[in-house]
């Protein structure tokens, strides 16, 4: 196990941030408690901003109305007609969830393998894993999906109906495995060095230390980051709908609006709301998990926070300086 000495231990990005102020705290820090004049000024700003918002809203509504997008007939089906949901939205949502779930399930072990390989004692193993991870993090997912789609068409006999799903999942797995590799690495490095020392002291081998001591603890530490990576995966499935003909939520907009009287705006609104609800559920779950883990007394208190994912998703120097 390659462990950095405790003194200059690279904490994961989330941990290295200075103690985060809560929303209420940072709000009161930047300005005084409003007195009478400040309250009047704030009221003025509120009114001005409200006027601006109203102007924008009026412009949008007038624009929509001019193109007959506000007719009740265009919005009604989503409430009154169960067939919209049965024929278009629910199967599409199912495909989105299947692709995202499959990608996560496949990317996780691959990512764990790559992450552990990047911490190996052998330089060759580290170099290979590092190259793979940096390569796939540097390339857009869409490029990977397009490649996978063409490769499946050329080298395998997967039927054209299921090929988009395969291509989408392959692209997502390649990209997310390398992001998760960084999450795993950060999770393992976040554990106190004493864990490795203690394992060594009782005579565990490197593999045993990893399998019985470090990995189990880092999994709990990584959970919030893993869940919020799921949000990224869910969002990226939409690429398959737009570019590969994968029948997910975004792809359901065209046939749906064609069948229900060109209600493009209504369809987009419903699809966007579905995506937001799905992802909000995931992020809420992730942050609740994170809070619980940070509070917990039984763990080592090492947590790779949900927001760390944003930093780990992009290529760059291997040892990231703490922000």
């Amino acid at each position: 196990m390659r462990r950095v000495p405790a003194s200059d231990e690279k904490a994961p990005p989330a941990k290295a941030k200075p103690p985060a102020r809560t929303e209420a705290e940072s709000a009161t820090v930047l300005y005084d408690v409003p007195g009478p004049r400040a309250r009047r000024r704030n009221l003025l700003w509120t009114v001005l901003f409200l006027a601006a918002l109203a102007a924008v809203a009026w412009w949008v509504i007038a624009g929509l109305d001019a193109k007959n997008q506000l007719e009740a007939a265009k919005w009604e089906p989503f409430v009154t007609d169960g067939r919209v949901w049965e024929t278009y939205l629910l199967p599409a949502l199912k495909n989105t969830v299947i692709a995202a779930g499959l990608a996560m399930v496949l990317a996780l072990p691959l990512g764990a393998l790559l992450g552990i390989a990047r911490l190996s004692d052998h330089r060759a193993v580290r170099a290979v894993a590092g190259t793979v991870v940096e390569f796939f993090r540097a390339i857009p997912v869409l490029i990977l999906m397009l490649f996978a789609n063409a490769a499946y068409a050329e080298f395998t006999d997967i039927s054209p109906e299921t090929r988009p799903l395969y291509a989408v999942v392959t692209g997502l797995v390649l990209y997310n495995a390398s992001v998760l590799a960084e999450v795993v690495r950060a999770g393992i490095l976040a554990l106190p060095a004493g864990q490795t020392d203690a394992a060594k002291a009782i005579g565990m081998r490197k593999g045993q230390t990893m399998a019985y001591v470090l990995l189990p603890q880092s999994v709990t530490a990584m959970l919030p980051a893993l869940v919020s990576q799921l949000v990224v995966i869910v969002k990226d499935t939409a690429l398959g709908g737009a570019m590969l003909g994968f029948a997910e939520l975004l792809a359901s907009v065209r046939p749906m609006s064609a069948n229900y009287g060109a209600n493009t705006i209504a369809c987009f609104t419903v699809v966007a709301v579905l995506f937001v609800l799905l992802n909000l559920a995931l992020t809420t779950f992730a942050s609740r998990l994170e809070r619980r883990l940070r509070r917990g007394k039984r763990s080592t208190g090492a947590v790779v926070g949900a927001e760390a994912v944003d930093d780990l998703a992009t290529p760059g120097p291997g040892e990231r300086p703490p922000p």
Partner: protein, 221 residues
């Protein structure tokens, strides 16, 4: 070996990618800063608006936003952003969509930077009677920007990769050319390798250079 490249404007496609990245980065830096200012400001309504915007936009796939700019804004509502040729319209729509999406991430990065500015700085500023806009402009944002060069670099790299989504509405950038070349040429692996290399050339140096800059300008505390 590379004769399959003939007849394709590879550099032109990557140039469009760079242009998309540049204009969207500029736009989202401005709009993201405004959003961050709203989110930390004293006006409750603006705070609520900033929070709602970031929450909603961050949870919608970029692809949905980009396709909406074309299908919804342009084809349904007839908003063409002052352009009259299809290529220009799509380019501007893509920049609009990318800006709307990326600024939510810029806002969050900036806000975390604002949180790193020590309390004493703002307290001192308030003590000498600076108003909220003054505090933000003179004291807080300059320090916040210096400490978020690293996170903003990550946002920029993600934006560079995200510009490929513009292919969904037919902007002639790298991913669209790749799809065309895959269809027409036999050398799948080579074509893909060329495009992968192109993106590595765009993202890796950005990360390295700006990463070094981040270390240099970060406020030592």
């Amino acid at each position: 070996m590379f004769d399959f490249l003939e007849g394709y404007d590879l550099l032109g496609a990557f140039w469009v990618t760079v242009q998309l990245t540049f204009w969207s980065a500029l736009g989202s830096l401005v709009w993201g800063t405004l959003l961050a200012a709203m989110r930390v400001g004293p006006v409750p309504l603006m705070r609520a608006f900033g929070t709602a915007y970031v929450t909603v936009v961050r949870n919608i796939p970029l692809t949905v936003i980009i396709v909406f700019t074309s299908l919804g804004l342009f084809q349904t509502l007839g908003i063409s952003l002052g352009a009259d040729r299809f290529t220009t319209i799509n380019f501007r729509l893509a920049v609009l969509g990318l800006t709307a999406y990326t600024s939510a991430f810029v806002c969050e990065a900036l806000r975390s930077g604002i949180n790193t500015v020590p309390l004493g700085q703002v307290e001192a500023a308030r003590a000498i009677g600076l108003s909220f806009p003054q505090i933000l402009r003179i004291i807080v944002l300059p320090q916040a920007f210096r400490s978020v060069v690293g996170p903003l670099t990550n946002v920029l790299i993600a934006l560079t990769k995200n510009t490929t989504v513009a292919a969904a509405i037919g902007v002639a950038e790298a991913a669209l050319l790749m799809r065309e070349m895959i269809e027409n040429e036999a050398q799948l692996i080579l074509v893909s390798a060329v495009f992968a290399f192109g993106f590595i050339c765009l993202t890796l140096p950005t990360g390295l250079l700006l990463g070094r800059l981040a270390k240099k300008v970060a406020v030592k505390r």
